[in-house]
Symmetry: C2
Subunit: 254 residues, 2 copies
């Protein structure tokens, strides 16, 4: 299978390397930034291109992993290709690829990628969608090459998944950041919280999060809630977050 990778950021890098590893041929890596294209091309034995005129039109699959707002512009350059066009965005409707002559669809990897940290893609859920059943079949086969966790999701469902991921991951990470600031202000090391953070994430791998909720709000422990709010009286922003989330916990459980 011949793949052209459009983009050279975190998602592009992890996917391109995963496809290369299972034996796919990465023919080209396109990026606006030549240096970045060359780095990923070198890693995957592909050719780096920055000019659309150089695009190989005969690949089996054009994998778009660029910023969401750049997808329409990229898609406009793929109107003459003979392969399937696939984007990888959680928040972008599949229809942005309409007009791709050989069909189009989505492979959305539900994971957070950093260039410096290896991710085992075989553990990453891939949500797929396609414009027609035959293309869905092909995209499913392509996705299964890198992960067994392949499931269908419509553009609307994918939007909800993306939003749910913001709650579960982006917001959780920010709560970690707020707690690390709080500890720093009191000469305490964030290291102290790391095992607890990991255990909290591990617990919900086998239990429903609502079933393992702990803390003063779910116990309706007024004394501790009052003490915590008093401790936060000098930080209106943290106090507001504390109240909003504690109220939400009470609402869910009481």
């Amino acid at each position: 299978m011949k793949i052209v990778c459009i983009g050279s950021g975190n998602v592009a890098t992890h996917l391109a390397i995963a496809f290369k590893r299972i034996g796919a041929e990465l023919v080209q890596v396109w990026s606006r930034d030549r240096r970045s294209a060359e780095i990923l091309a070198a890693l995957t034995k592909a050719k780096a291109i920055t000019d659309w005129k150089e695009l190989d039109l005969k690949a089996d699959c054009y994998l778009i992993a660029v910023k969401d707002d750049a997808i329409p512009e990229v898609a406009a350059h793929l109107k003459d290709v003979s392969g399937i066009v696939i984007h990888t965005s959680g928040a972008t409707d599949m229809k942005v690829l309409a007009g791709s002559p050989a069909g189009y669809g989505v492979i959305y990897p539900l994971q957070t990628f950093s260039k410096t940290k290896a991710v085992d893609l075989t553990q990453v859920p891939l949500c797929i969608e396609a414009d027609q059943p035959q293309v869905l079949e092909k995209i499913s086969a392509i996705a299964h090459l890198i992960s067994p966790l392949v499931s269908e999701a419509s553009s609307e469902q994918r939007r909800v998944l993306h939003l749910a991921a913001v709650f579960a991951c982006n917001f959780s990470n920010h709560l970690y950041a707020l707690s690390s600031q709080l500890l720093e202000q009191h000469q305490l090391k964030f290291d102290l919280l790391k095992p607890l953070i990991l255990e909290t994430a591990q617990k919900i791998q086998s239990s429903l999060p609502a079933d393992v909720q702990t803390g003063p709000a779910v116990r309706n422990d007024q004394e501790t809630l009052k003490n915590h709010m008093a401790l936060l009286s000098g930080s209106p922003e943290l106090l507001n977050i504390y109240e909003v989330l504690s109220d939400s916990i009470k609402k869910m459980h009481l």
Copy 2:
């Protein structure tokens, strides 16, 4: 070393078993609830008691792991003991134990315990405090028996740690619960988010959370923020949480 365990809940169970495992002698387990005292006593080859009159006054250490608001009442029954009195609460001042004749202090394990899930206590940070240097030395030695991660924290620092743990863990877990509800409403499985949740918690084991923040708020991606808020327009509670946390992320990073 002879230990009397006061309490038979999650924390009491994990600590008593850990001390038993390293060779300490659990002489008694006290609980208001006989059945619960008997279960933990059987696990640790101790004697179950419910009547304070039966309390062995000659143990080396009285470990209190009961609900925060029950600690003063329990402490009042320990005025004639010859061993150190130690509570295990994050939110309770050490002084609640004042009057213990052989000295007193705290061992606060920073972890979330469920009876049904084993926790490796050697990976759990223990924050200790004592009323006097010689007692601190003894408590430090006792704590080191079950974990190498022992550090000192004053009652005020422990309060802050407990509060920070609420942000990093109780609130994160609630965000997991909200996202699982959101997915359920759209016929999507919470399983899809589990690898992402775990990776988010793993990432901050070696990076500062503020340095690895991702998502639309930190990118100031107005388009996605607008779309997410539109998706939440029917859920005022989630919308409010979304706005409060997104604003807090922007404030920290922009």
